[in-house]
């Protein structure tokens, strides 16, 4: 049973690879190779090997809590926890091999043990929705933000308040901006029904520029008070929150273009998630920044082409 399911997983993975296309596969391979080299080098010494392991485990926890097929697996497979375990073992295999090569077998064993614990986590999706007056200020056309804020309202407010309240600590505002930036990137992961795109009645480039403007406007409104407060306490480091803000503005634009490049109604595109992830890692390592900007140009053309299927009558 597990072998059959893994077989299906490989087929799904193969189909996604085919969907991504030749050019982007080459880029993806190149970036993946660099990341692997980076991971190999980082797992060479003690604290970094542990940090790498923690980061991979955190990513797997995120994957586990967000995956949509848990109910399906639970109903159809009595050994669904084994399925999770084997899948996560595959995902973290490279890390474990690197850890073993560098003789960190304790960390490798601990990583495998934590993978086992993760499979036992059975978080029910919190159905609480937060209808506050703040959502009414968000334009209806920014449904990603309406939906996202409704879902994560307390987290967003707490992070924002911590960022402001502790702004006398130099790291407070940049970290808050960073976390809110990541959260808002997640809002873009799901494809809306095509009726919601057609309702805009705009040609693709106008649609994209409206989406980008709205997205950046909301991000700016959230970020501005934090950036201003930061200036009172750390005016000599005035540029730090601006850099974080600009990085996330670029990422927002990139994420919107990626989303609509791979857009399919009512679904999350794995390819889009991979490329948004690459964009995120890329902007954290300045060496990749030009590549992200080049990819944005490429994705702009692709997004326009993809959207023209739905908006071809509004030229």
């Amino acid at each position: 049973m597990i072998v059959n399911l893994l077989n299906i997983r490989f087929k799904q993975f193969y189909r996604e690879i085919l969907r991504i296309g030749f050019f982007r596969n080459i880029v993806l391979l190149g970036i993946s190779f660099m990341l692997l080299v980076f991971l190999y080098l980082q797992t060479n010494n003690f604290p970094n090997a542990m940090y790498a392991s923690i980061i991979v485990l955190l990513l797997i926890i995120m994957l586990h809590t967000k995956r949509d097929d848990k109910i399906f697996l639970k109903i159809n497979f009595s050994s669904h926890k084994w399925i999770y375990f084997i899948e996560y073992l595959f995902v973290s295999l490279v890390l474990i091999v690197f850890l073993l090569i560098h003789n960190f077998w304790e960390i490798a064993l601990l990583t495998i043990a934590v993978l086992g614990i993760i499979t036992q986590i059975d978080l029910k999706k919190n159905r609480t929705n937060y209808n506050t007056k703040i959502q009414k200020w968000i334009p209806d056309e920014c449904f990603e933000w309406k939906s996202g804020v409704r879902n994560l309202f307390p987290i967003i407010v707490i992070i924002w308040l911590i960022g402001i309240s502790f702004s006398f600590f130099v790291g407070s505002v940049p970290i808050a901006l960073f976390i809110l930036g990541i959260i808002s990137l997640n809002f873009l992961e799901k494809g809306e029904p095509y009726q919601m795109i057609i309702a805009f009645e705009k040609k693709p480039n106008k649609f994209l520029s409206l989406k980008i403007k709205q997205q950046l406007a909301i991000l700016s409104i959230i970020s501005a008070p934090m950036i201003i407060v930061f200036q009172f306490f750390h005016s000599h480091l005035w540029y730090v929150p601006f850099i974080v803000y600009i990085v996330f503005c670029i990422l927002q634009v990139y994420a919107i273009l990626v989303k609509y490049s791979f857009y399919e109604p009512n679904s999350k595109s794995t390819a889009a998630q991979i490329f948004i992830g690459i964009g995120f890692v890329g902007l954290l390592m300045p060496i990749f920044a030009p590549l992200i900007i080049l990819l944005s140009l490429r994705f702009y053309l692709k997004a326009k082409q993809n959207l023209s299927y739905y908006l071809n009558d509004y030229y």
Binding site: R127, N129, N131, D140, E141, F143, K146, S147, G148, R150, N151, K190, E192, P193, Y194, Q195, M196, I198, A199, F200, E201, P265, N266, Y309, Y310, N312, D313, Y314
Partner: protein
């Protein structure tokens, strides 16, 4: 008037679903498209809305290529973005003259509640409201009665008749043929990628009887064979 000429649509290289189909639909009429599962009803409707690539032929409305600007389209199984309310969804469709509150007196939907909490029938009602709000000259309704209670089916029926009064052209499908024969002015029977018969509803009843007798006889023969 909608004119479909020599329309062909395929899925992949092999499977031709619509094959040189010709059909004319008059303005201000209610038209039912019927056919067995997989006959190509939804494909035809998608093509009319510009969501399916056409191989040959074309679809024209009043002599020009049909566009989304002219069509309000209700899909069989409506899907909604999660964590938004019914009101927020409806507000995406622009129509100043559409009074959401008044229209909702018909359906009694909790429009301030998020759509994820709606039942299947409520989602369908919301989709119907959005389609009415778009108020375009042509209404394409794919299985509008699916998942709805008798009361709502009656309301939809009245709405469709009201739209006809406003000279809108309505094209709809349904698995419940009686609904179509009662409501539609014309029925078009789709088989093998072509419109096999286009008839006024009264003429169709005779054809329907013969058709289903044949289908039933075929099935009974096969079932008897299988069970023995």
């Amino acid at each position: 008037m909608i004119t479909i000429e020599n329309l062909s649509i395929s899925y992949g290289k092999e499977k031709r679903v619509i094959d040189a189909l010709d059909l004319t639909i008059s303005e201000g009429t209610i038209n039912g498209i019927v056919g067995l599962n997989g006959a190509g009803k939804t494909t035809l409707l998608n093509a009319m809305y510009g969501l399916k690539s056409i191989e040959t032929g074309g679809i024209k409305w009043n002599g020009e290529k049909i566009t989304k600007k002219a069509v309000s389209y209700l899909v069989t199984e409506p899907y909604f973005y999660s964590n938004i309310t019914g009101n927020e969804y409806l507000s995406l469709f622009k129509n100043k003259h559409f009074d959401v509150k008044k229209w909702n007196e018909l359906f009694l939907l909790p429009l301030d509640q998020i759509i994820d909490e709606y039942s299947t029938g409520m989602k369908k009602k919301l989709a119907i409201l959005s389609v009415i709000k778009q108020d375009k000259p042509i209404f394409i309704l794919d299985e509008p009665f699916n998942g709805l209670d008798i009361e709502t089916c009656r309301i939809i029926r009245s709405i469709v008749l009201g739209l006809k009064e406003k000279n809108k052209t309505i094209i709809m499908t349904s698995h419940i043929i009686e609904t179509l024969t009662n409501l539609c002015d014309y029925i078009h029977y789709l088989e093998g990628g072509k419109i096999k018969y286009s008839k006024e509803k009264n003429e169709f009843k005779e054809f329907e009887r013969e058709l289903f007798e044949n289908l039933e006889n075929k099935s009974i023969k096969l079932i008897t064979e299988l069970l023995n």
